[in-house]
């Protein structure tokens, strides 16, 4: 706009050379008169603009005032008839008038727009308490979540994740783990057997009763040294308040040249502190017996019962959570590892069980019932992926 006005002025002054003399004669009077006109014009248009009721009225005013044929434009044309002296006074004044009207128009236009928008928005009121369209969120099962939690913890300690078949041979599930055929532990495990065709006289395969056969398979495949955990489903023919025919275990195995039970204790203490997110949670190692470890220990964690509620990591009660020990030399040998060179520890605990303890889930049987109410209540959000730097659980 500024540039345009400057051009206009130079063009007008170029044409006006011949008329200069006449103009000078009338200059004194005209200057006075023009000044009065312009004041009137300004008052007239500013008041019209202020009173304009809508954008159409405003456009009319604009055309009448600063449009090509508007009053101000007509005045501009008259500049050519003026003397240079007159023009020097009248030109800038006209331009100023034009600017003033234009900015008043713009301001009014914006104000009208705002008012119209306000009006429209006022009519667009919604009851935002109505329910949303909904983006149903799913959940992860506690067994999956806790498996990821313990994988994160043991990964940090250098354990990798190994897996094995759920239907396994009698040898991997029992014999290789130093549980011979007549061993009472074998009867106590309530083993599920796969049916055999008539004439197939191999010992029946079993549904693995623990994740320990994965120890043997991994030792065979990878040799020593070794740091693995083996999470997964296991099966025992038992069903009551606290037992289900399928549940989940995680097995841990560390084989090296100088691993001791003291390393086992540290590993488990670190695990419990990280998993339950309680620094300094106490553990108790009690001598016990498992065919595949020697010496063996059952491990308890500190807990108390307050008003029927279990509290982990406080008080002076103990809760048994896992079995562990130094891998029996026969088990190492069964896995193809020389027990005169290598030694190590193993442990096994129930994933469902530690999930129940950590998250206060009362009934094991409900884990496998797929009740929507239970899944929603005890499940985990898809983005709650456990990691150690952000904290395992929210």
């Amino acid at each position: 706009m500024e540039n345009f006005v400057v051009e206009e002025r130079s063009r007008v002054s170029g044409q006006a050379d011949g008329l200069r003399l006449v103009a000078v004669l009338v200059a004194g009077l005209d200057i006075l008169k023009d000044a009065c006109d312009m004041d009137d014009l300004k008052q007239k248009y500013l008041s019209q603009i202020a009173n304009a009721s809508d954008e159409a009225a405003l456009e009319d005013i604009r055309l009448g005032a600063v449009g090509k044929k508007g009053e101000v434009a007509l005045k501009m044309r008259e500049l050519g008839k003026m003397t240079p002296e007159e023009r020097q006074v009248a030109g800038p004044a006209l331009n100023a008038l034009k600017d003033e009207i234009n900015s008043a128009l713009a301001a009014k236009k914006a104000a009208l727009g705002d008012a119209a928008l306000d009006e429209r928005l006022r009519s667009e009121w919604l009851d935002v308490t109505l329910p949303s369209r909904g983006r149903p969120a799913g959940t992860l099962h506690p067994v999956s979540q806790v498996t990821e939690e313990l994988t994160a913890i043991f990964a940090e300690m250098g354990f990798s994740v190994a897996e094995g078949p759920r239907i396994d041979t009698d040898w991997y599930n029992f014999d290789a783990l130093n549980i011979p055929g007549h061993h009472p532990a074998r009867a106590e495990m309530d083993t599920f057997y796969m049916a055999r065709d008539e004439g197939d006289n191999r010992p029946p395969h079993v549904l693995r009763t623990h994740t320990s056969p994965v120890q043997i398979r991994t030792m065979e495949a990878e040799g020593a040294p070794l740091r693995i955990i083996c999470p997964g489903g296991v099966y025992r023919a038992d069903y009551d308040q606290t037992h289900t025919p399928m549940f989940h275990q995680v097995e841990g195995l560390a084989i090296d040249k100088d691993i001791s039970m003291a390393n086992l204790k540290w590993t488990l203490e670190e695990f419990f502190a990280a998993f339950f997110e309680i620094d300094g949670i106490k553990t108790r190692f009690r001598a016990s017996h498992f065919p595949f470890t020697e010496p063996s220990a059952e491990v308890d964690i500190q807990c108390s019962w307050v008003d029927g509620q279990l509290r982990i990591g406080e008080g002076d009660g103990w809760m048994e959570v896992l079995g562990s020990g130094m891998v029996h030399p026969k088990v190492l040998a069964a896995g193809g590892i020389d027990p005169d060179i290598w030694q190590g520890f193993a442990f096994g605990m129930g994933i469902d069980r530690i999930a129940m303890l950590k998250y206060g889930i009362p009934d094991l049987r409900a884990f496998f019932d797929s009740d929507l109410r239970w899944l929603r209540h005890y499940g985990f959000a898809s983005l709650d992926q456990p990691n150690l730097h952000g904290g395992l659980s929210r």
């Binding site: 109505l130 329910p131 369209r133 909904g134 149903p136 969120a137 799913g138 992860l140 099962h141 999956s144 994988t151 990964a155 940090e156 250098g158 990798s160 994740v161 078949p165 759920r166 239907i167 041979t169 991997y172 055929g181 007549h182 009472p184 106590e188 599920f192 057997y193 796969m194 040294p225 740091r227 489903g233 099966y235 023919a237 399928m246 560390a254 090296d256 691993i259 001791s260 039970m261 003291a262 390393n263 190692f285 009690r286 001598a287 017996h289 020697e294 010496p295 063996s296 130094m326 030694q343 496998f368 797929s370 929507l372 109410r373 899944l375 929603r376 499940g379 898809s382 983005l383 992926q385």
Partner: protein
């Protein structure tokens, strides 16, 4: 295993408290499961002294007694015949609960005279069955606690009963003496010497004993002896008290003796009535099969081939190591008793016990392994106890077979022990622990005592040393990692895919289920399973008889259960193994999702609708993308008949590589599993998704053109059975350089097009690379698209 403190102290000389003892037991691996404080219920009873006893004016058999108590002289009415002046009695004051009659004593009037309490009998305090009169104490002061008096004068009545759990490797701890030995080794006292001197027989045993040659493995040794002229009957009070305290019912003295030594020394014994042994000869042999016996539990058992039996001229009299027979059992009238102390092999005993479903104390012990050498002392202990309390005279001992040789020794490597346990246990301490447990050390060789069948190698010595040293005292030592520095990833590709599939499915709104790996045969059969190869021999119920061939049946069953609970709409998924056979490895990871009902509850926005095939298709595609499947796939038909034949697709890479299936579940399947549809599902096979071609994280360079893309819409009329993907592929192939994308945006079937026809509308996006497209270029490409589609499908542009 239960025992009382006083029983323990018969073997252990100790001043340790109950707390110290129970702590040590648990720490030693003999986990304490409970301590019963039998004195607790008697704590409120106090001693009183009867100053006078007058006949009740209105009742001949009642006496009005004035009794000195800790609360002064009290009047108590008593009906016991022995209530009289000058005796020390046990008082239940008003407000005290009396366990034997399950009553809380109050103040009351008896025939018009007030009574302030009760004088108790033994039965009322549950101390014995004695109820002929009130308790009269030979000592004690007025006001003393009765519990304290018992603890002082008759401790076996009130001392605590300790119950411990026994791991299968510790048969020796099934006897009180074995427990005492462990405690002594821990330093909680001294194991008492309790050897027995043999009783010389005064006559030759009239009953002979033999073991068949083929039975010596099952029963290597049998000791027996007759004691004649005994007087059977109720056991002495101390013995009854002992047995009752640990939950055993006293039967008769001769039987109680066998139970006593079963618990005292883990030495099961059996007693025959010698007069009922036919032909004066017992023979230990293997069952032929088909023999029968009515055992001591009054049940008749049919025996199978190979079981260890003890027979006489009358037939089978006893099942060795499991249970004796009723016909030859002792009774109150028995005067001549034949005592058996034998060793039965654990494997055979376990087999027989399991087969006959007999859970006897004898079976429990023999199958864990008793001390074979204990036959020698066992029979002498029993002889002495029987003769002491029931009189009679003993024959000489008859022996068949011989005590099996269990002698063995293992090297104690003290350094290795320290290295394995991670605890600095001096060698002297190690040797001391083993010696206290009965091992005999010769140099560095530890000879195993006969009562420890579990010790089978050096590792067992480590366990014994560690146990005695106490694992509770162990201090943790950091575990070195195999590699230093930042831990490396630890999950395999398939494991990562499982996690990604789970988290994507949950993000898409599905709830994860974990269902049992076994399902019922009919449901398994619906999904191509239920074969004999996947059958369980011993399922827990018919609902869980076969390994699942698919995740879907259990998800559908879960949906039916939820529908029965009033939830009509749901999205469920599972990630887990399915089984194609019964061999290890015939197991495959699958991901299945199930949508049932509507997309959500009815809502103001009207957005809820029935779930459809394109919901599960989208979800299957999203999960496949998340686990790294390529975007360009084929969709084929021809999946099995669990799917709606016209509404399913197989997501494939070539005809044989199926990554997954999505579609509507066949109505027959829904009906069979009682699910109200609509039900849409998908099953994905994560292991089928190919690996990335190139290793590494680098991505190809991004190529973007600054030139404006142009979109053109086309509508083609084709036969109704022509699939959209065919058109899309034909259009894409029309000009590979220029055509960037083809999308189907409309489908119209029938109507003005006529039967068997449909119209498909496509948007083709052209992306120039070198120069802006001119109208002529666009026309040229359009012509190619039309030609290509015409060639592939016979489709023509819709007029």
């Amino acid at each position: 295993m239960k025992f009382t403190l006083s029983w323990l102290k018969e073997h252990l000389d100790t001043t340790a408290s109950v707390d110290e003892i129970t702590y040590a037991l648990t720490d030693l691996g003999l986990e304490v499961e409970g301590v019963e404080d039998r004195g607790a219920k008697l704590r409120a009873f106090t001693l009183g002294f009867v100053k006078s006893a007058e006949k009740h004016p209105d009742a001949d058999r009642l006496r009005v007694c004035q009794v000195e108590t800790d609360e002064g002289l009290q009047q108590i009415i008593c009906g016991a015949p022995n209530a009289r002046e000058g005796i020390t009695v046990v008082i239940a004051k008003p407000g005290v609960y009396v366990p034997g009659i399950d009553t809380t004593i109050g103040v009351g009037k008896i025939r018009g005279i007030e009574s302030f309490g009760m004088m108790a009998s033994e039965r009322e305090l549950e101390l014995s069955e004695e109820h002929d009169g009130i308790i009269e104490l030979p000592s004690g002061n007025v006001g003393d606690s009765f519990t304290d008096w018992l603890a002082e004068n008759d401790p076996s009545k009130v001392d605590p009963v300790i119950e411990i759990a026994i791991t299968p490797n510790r048969p020796d701890a099934l006897g009180v003496r074995g427990i005492a030995r462990d405690l002594a080794a821990r330093g909680l006292g001294k194991l008492k010497q309790r050897d027995v001197e043999a009783v010389d027989g005064s006559f030759s045993c009239p009953v002979s004993v033999s073991i068949d040659a083929d039975t010596l493995e099952q029963c290597p040794v049998f000791y027996g002896r007759m004691i004649r002229g005994v007087k059977n009957g109720p056991s002495p009070v101390w013995l009854q008290d002992k047995l009752r305290a640990i939950g055993l019912r006293p039967i008769s003295f001769l039987v109680d003796v066998t139970n006593f030594f079963t618990y005292d020394r883990n030495r099961p014994l059996h007693v025959f009535d010698a007069d009922k042994i036919g032909g004066d000869a017992l023979r230990v042999h293997r069952a032929v099969g088909g023999e029968t016996l009515v055992a001591l539990d009054d049940k008749e058992y049919t025996l199978t081939e190979g079981m260890t039996l003890i027979s006489d001229a009358n037939g089978v009299e006893s099942i060795g190591g499991v249970m004796g027979g009723l016909p030859s059992g002792v009774t109150d009238e028995t005067v001549n008793v034949f005592v058996e102390a034998a060793y039965f092999d654990p494997v055979r005993t376990a087999y027989t016990g399991r087969a006959l479903k007999i859970n006897s104390d004898a079976r429990y012990r023999f199958e864990r392994g008793i001390d074979p050498a204990s036959v020698v002392d066992g029979i002498e202990h029993a002889t002495r106890m029987i003769m002491e309390h029931a009189g009679g005279e003993a024959s000489d001992v008859v022996i068949a077979g011989k005590v099996p040789d269990t002698a063995r020794a293992y090297k104690l490597n003290a350094k290795r022990v320290i290295s394995l346990v991670g605890m600095d246990i001096p060698e002297a301490t190690q040797r001391q622990s083993l010696t206290a447990l009965g091992f005999r050390l010769e140099g560095d060789m530890a000879h195993v005592p006969s009562w420890r069948p579990d010790v089978q190698g050096e590792a067992d010595l480590v366990e014994e040393v560690a146990r005695i040293a106490s694992l509770t005292k162990l201090e943790g030592v950091p575990l070195p990692r195999l590699t230093a520095g930042v831990p490396r990833p630890v999950m395999s590709l398939v494991q990562r895919r499982e996690v990604a599939a789970r988290r994507t499915a949950a993000a898409l709104g599905y709830h994860e289920c974990v269902t049992y790996s076994f399902i019922d045969q009919p449901s398994a059969a619906l999904f191509g399973g239920g074969t004999d190869a996947t059958r369980l021999e011993n399922p827990i119920s018919n609902d869980m008889s076969h390994m699942r061939p698919s995740l879907l049946p259990a998800l559908l069953q879960a949906a039916a259960r939820n529908q029965a609970r009033g939830f009509a709409d749901m999205a469920l998924f599972e990630v887990g193994p399915v089984f194609t056979g019964g061999e290890p490895g015939e197991q495959h990871m699958q991901v299945s999702g199930l949508l049932v009902g509507r997309t959500g509850p009815k809502d103001v926005l009207g957005s809820a609708r029935d779930v459809d095939v394109f919901d599960v298709k989208a979800d299957a595609e999203a999960i496949l993308a998340a686990i790294g499947a390529p975007a360009k796939v084929q969709v084929m038909r021809g999946a099995d008949d669990t799917w709606h034949p016209g509404r399913h697709g197989k997501i494939c890479l070539g005809p044989k590589k199926v990554l997954g299936i999505f579609g509507e579940v066949h109505p027959k399947v829904l009906a069979a599993l009682d699910v109200k549809g609509p039900a849409m599902a998908f099953t994905l096979y994560p292991a089928e998704v190919p690996l990335k071609r190139k290793a590494g994280a680098t991505r190809p360079a991004l190529k973007v053109s600054d030139l404006q893309a142009v979109e053109r819409d086309f509508a083609f009329v084709v036969d109704a059975d022509v699939e959209a993907l065919t058109l899309v592929n034909a259009a894409m192939g029309a000009d590979k350089a220029l055509i960037d994308d083809v999308r189907v945006f409309d489908e119209f079937i029938g109507g003005s097009l006529g039967e068997g026809k449909k119209s498909l509308a496509l948007t083709v996006r052209l992306q120039p690379r070198d120069a802006t497209l001119k109208d002529a270029d666009i026309e040229a490409v359009s012509a190619k698209v039309v030609a290509s589609i015409a060639k592939a499908t016979g489709g023509v542009l819709r007029g």
